[in-house]
């Protein structure tokens, strides 16, 4: 009968291993292999075609002395901080609002969430249209009699990134709201009761008790937002295509343009490596807190 001898290690759970093969391949080939490939090539002077002619950090030096990259980084910072802060704040306020046992909750939630189903391309086009000074909000307000009203974020290099942000928030806050709402709903109802008995006003309970308790949910939301921010590309392409001038360029677009438009792969790889690095800077402390911390502190 089977069992008396210890079976070969690798054959145990063989089915599971076979089933996990796509995952393993993806993890190794795509996420490890391709990443390494890109990083290695970022040290070369590849132009249209990848070649292994190493030039040290030249690409990086050029990258950091390129205005467009610096503007991209700056935009990403504005956009990133803006999305983080506003998504979380607005998302939470909306979630708290929907948590007030209101009528038509489903309808309201649906309205707030539907933009999430739309692509960034669609989002960008719609908001380009709404923010168009000749037809959109500015036009309307002016035709109401405020002749000097100016609201043309997409045509003003100083604030164009906030025009993009408005569209981005419109698309994404609904999802953050849903996540935070389910986090809110997960809070033990007795906490609310306890705070009512203690006579604590609602807003204080939210601020001092509930929000701290929702840390894991906020972390989830944070990670989702961050991952999205770094990837932001479609939205900018559809809404402003980087303009006016290069005022709304973002790193993802810089990478794409370097690789394919300027035919300077090495530069693109260097820029994408920087993007990866910034992701890691965000991600590693988080992973450490989430997983490392869990092990120690239970």
């Amino acid at each position: 009968m089977a069992g008396a001898t210890k079976p070969v290690r690798i054959l145990r759970n063989l089915n599971a291993k076979i089933a996990a093969l796509p995952m393993i391949t993806t993890a190794l080939v795509i996420f490890v292999g391709c990443t390494i490939w890109t990083i290695v090539h970022s040290f070369t002077n590849s132009r249209l075609l990848p070649k292994l002619e190493f030039v040290g950090f030249a690409q990086y030096e050029r990258l950091w002395s390129t205005r467009r990259w610096l503007i991209s980084i700056e935009n990403l910072a504005y956009f990133g901080i803006g999305s983080l802060v506003f998504s979380l704040v607005i998302g939470f306020l909306l979630a708290a609002l929907l948590d007030q046992k209101i009528r038509f909750e489903n309808t309201v939630r649906t309205i707030i969430l539907y933009p999430f189903a739309l692509s960034f391309i669609v989002t960008g086009l719609v908001w380009q249209w709404i923010l168009n000074p000749e037809f959109g909000i500015q036009h309307i307000v002016r035709s109401l009699g405020f002749e000097n009203f100016v609201f043309d974020p997409l045509y003003n290099p100083d604030i164009v990134i906030f025009g993009v942000l408005i569209a981005g928030l419109w698309q994404g806050t609904g999802f953050i709201m849903v996540i935070l709402l389910s986090g809110l709903r997960g809070i033990d109802g007795e906490i609310w009761k306890a705070s009512r008995i203690d006579g604590i006003p609602k807003w204080k309970t939210y601020l001092f008790v509930v929000i701290p308790m929702m840390r894991p949910t906020f972390v989830t939301a944070l990670v989702i937002i961050t991952a999205g921010i770094i990837k932001v590309y479609d939205l900018v392409v559809a809404q402003t295509n980087g303009g006016p001038g290069i005022a709304s360029e973002v790193p993802a677009k810089y990478v794409y343009d370097s690789m394919f438009r300027s035919q300077n792969l090495g530069q693109g790889f260097a820029a994408s490596t920087m993007m990866l690095l910034s992701v890691l800077i965000v991600l590693i402390p988080w992973a450490y807190l989430e997983f490392g911390g869990r092990k120690n502190g239970k």
Binding site: D198, I200, F208, V209, M213
Partner: protein, 358 residues
Amino acid sequence: MTSVSIQNLDLNFGAVNVLKQLNLSIEEGEFLVLLGASGCGKSTLLNCIAGLLDVSDGQIFINGKNVTWAEPSDRGIGMVFQSYALYPQMTVKGNLSFGLKNARLPKPEIEERVARAAEILQIEPLLHRKPGALSGGQRQRVAIGRALVRDVDVFLFDEPLSNLDAKLRAELRVEIKRLHQKLGNTMIYVTHDQVEAMTLADRIAIMRDGLVQQLAGPDEIYNRPANKYVADFIGSPAMNFFQGRSTSAGKIAIGKLEFDLAGYNFVNGPTDGDVWFGYRPEHVVLGEAARQMPLTVEAVAEIVEPMGSDTLIWTKIEGYDFRIRTDGQYKVAAGDPLLVGIDPRFASIFDKTTEERV
């Protein structure tokens, strides 16, 4: 003086009528336990008293004031929850003082109250820890402390011990009892644990489907349950029941057995009619001593469950399952013959149709 008085309280969740014209009056300093099966409306009632639920009808008075529409924090009540409901991000001290700070009490006053509560509950060394770093029992104490600092007249407990393990539960039970003896506040305590109810209560209200079935001292509930539901609910193992016929002459017939109910304390004297004859497993007398009892039956032990301090014996009498609880030192094995003695003085008899005590 009446501390809490509930008059004609109705509570509906949508179309569901959870509390039905409930009346209850609790004396000052009394320890009242609400006991009942899950879903009978205990928590609901407590939430109504606390003001956490809006009543559908009726009135609630606390210390003579009509608080039906008052805010929870204005009712002079403190509440302790099953899940403790501590604020996890604050230290113990923060938990205790949060409500006070919010009421804008002066700082020294807050300090003093927290210190006093911490002393009473012996949680001084824990004041600067967060709830996550406390054991279940300690958390429970902090939860009680939160009510304590608010200097309230009435404490409400909603199954405060049911998340704890048996040993800790027994310990904290005693502590709550001590606390009550020390503070002398009115306490309303919800549980579905009989042992807690029996040991803690001055009076027990047995609830069923939003109605109070019996409101009396533990002793009376145990010994003179008002109806069959209460009799069946209280006691473990449960009371044994036989169907029988009683006569106005004070006799009863169960199957082939007939005997006199001499010594049974009738509510309105003996009457003719079908009845349930209930008898608690622990009141059974076994062995030779059984011969002195008004009713002596021979039976066979089917299953014997030794539980250390006691032994449970399962047998059959007149076709009815019959449980006997006896001393742990009593040696008996499955299949052994038994001599079972029953004393009507300890029995409870209920009308077959109304199920009320006769």
